[in-house]
């Protein structure tokens, strides 16, 4: 908005010109005691106001239509509205992200939970075999025990081969389970673009509406709503740039110890 626009409070130049002219005429007629003429000028003045108001309301209505078209909401029937709405599409897309990330996390954890006991069992058997092996090297082993150990080592090698194959398989599946990042990344970028577009459209609507407010002299009292931290606000974005937010566990520990924890 330019400076002259700001000074004119969104009024058209011809309107302000007319206002000026009629105000001085009004002052003149009151001065001269011509009250009938003064009253008719007052009426004309309010007509000017009404006309500009209608013009702004018209403009606002057109913008609103335009904005709704931009959102591609076809309001002719509810079904179409649902199908064509970019907004509901955006929330579907975000639901898809939640689903995909959830699936990937669960798939990864399934594989890890299956792999962990294998790793444990390998280690336990290796520890026991090493103890037996040391006994053998110290020549503390009877021939019968040795034959038992002989078989056990053989079985160990067989299981070791199979289990490390399974572990490798799990690791490579865990790797694959991270492919959600690519898909969800694309979806989130699309939704971010939509949010920006919607914000721009809303902003121009706000500007239009403020013209109407200026013409009618309406003042809105907007209450500042403070976010309640008690309910929880979720992860902090750009935590490094903010003073009121800790930057990590070390910060939390420092803060708590300063409180005597």
């Amino acid at each position: 908005m330019t400076d002259s626009n700001k000074n004119n409070q969104g009024l058209e130049p011809e309107v302000t010109e007319k206002l000026k002219q009629q105000t001085s005429e009004l002052a003149e007629s009151v001065e001269e005691g011509d009250y009938a003429r003064a009253m008719s000028i007052i009426n004309e003045l309010s007509d000017v106001r009404d006309q500009s108001l209608y013009r702004e309301v018209g403009r606002l209505t057109r913008s609103l239509h335009e904005a709704i078209r931009n959102f591609q909401i076809d309001a002719r029937n509810a079904e179409q509205k649902e199908a064509l709405s970019k907004m509901s599409d955006a929330s579907d897309r975000l639901n898809y992200v939640v689903q995909m990330t959830g699936q990937a996390a669960n798939r990864t954890m399934d594989l890890v939970e299956n792999a962990m006991p294998l790793a444990h069992a390998m280690r336990d058997e290796a520890v026991e075999l090493r103890e037996e092996w040391l006994r053998l090297r110290r020549r503390e082993m009877a021939p019968a025990e040795f034959r038992e150990l002989y078989g056990r080592i053989d079985r160990f090698f067989t299981t070791l081969t199979a289990d490390s194959d399974t572990l490798y398989q799990s690791l490579s599946e865990i790797l694959l389970a991270q492919d959600f990042q690519d898909l969800t990344g694309q979806v989130i970028q699309k939704v971010t673009a939509l949010v920006k577009e919607v914000e721009e459209n809303l902003l121009s609507l706000v500007v239009m509406a403020s013209h109407v407010d200026q013409l009618t002299g309406t003042i809105h009292e907007i209450e500042e709503k403070e976010e309640s931290a008690e309910k929880g606000v979720g992860p902090q974005i750009k935590a490094d740039e903010r003073e009121d937010v800790v930057s990590g566990q070390d910060d939390v520990d420092d803060l708590l110890s300063s409180l005597g924890f």
Binding site: N106, A229, G234, D244, V245, V246, L255
Partner: protein, 123 residues
């Protein structure tokens, strides 16, 4: 040692459950918010509570206050594991009587350290 894990995301509950199991705590139960957790705590004889902050229904902070206000439960050790990172929130949790505070994302080592510290102090 019976532990209740409260978080609205099942994946996070699963991660914490796995980490606790690695630390030797195998007796764990799960709840998805304060409203489900509180009756479990009242009837279940739990020794330790690990809770998130931001949850639909009853938040972890309200759960913390409810536990501290309950004659039977008020001495239950509580570890908060949460993405809430405002200084005011951490101070509020400390004042409400939390025993430990871990911010997400966290590591297994941090969780272990905080849990051990809490138990050291109790014993």
């Amino acid at each position: 040692m019976k532990i209740l894990i409260v978080d609205d995301f099942s994946t996070m509950r699963r991660i914490i459950k796995n980490l606790l199991r690695d630390l030797g705590f195998t007796n764990t139960d799960e709840a998805d918010d304060g409203n489900t957790a509180l009756p479990m705590l009242k009837s279940g004889k739990y020794d330790f509570l690990v809770t998130d902050w931001n949850m639909p229904g009853m938040s972890g902070f309200d759960l913390l206050k409810a536990v501290r206000a309950d004659e039977e439960l008020k001495n239950l050790p509580i570890l908060m594991v949460t993405a809430e990172a405002k200084r005011d929130q951490i101070i509020a949790a400390a004042q409400a009587g939390v025993n430990g505070y871990v911010v997400k994302p966290f590591t297994a080592a941090v969780l272990k350290e905080k849990i051990e510290k809490i138990f050291e102090r109790i014993q």
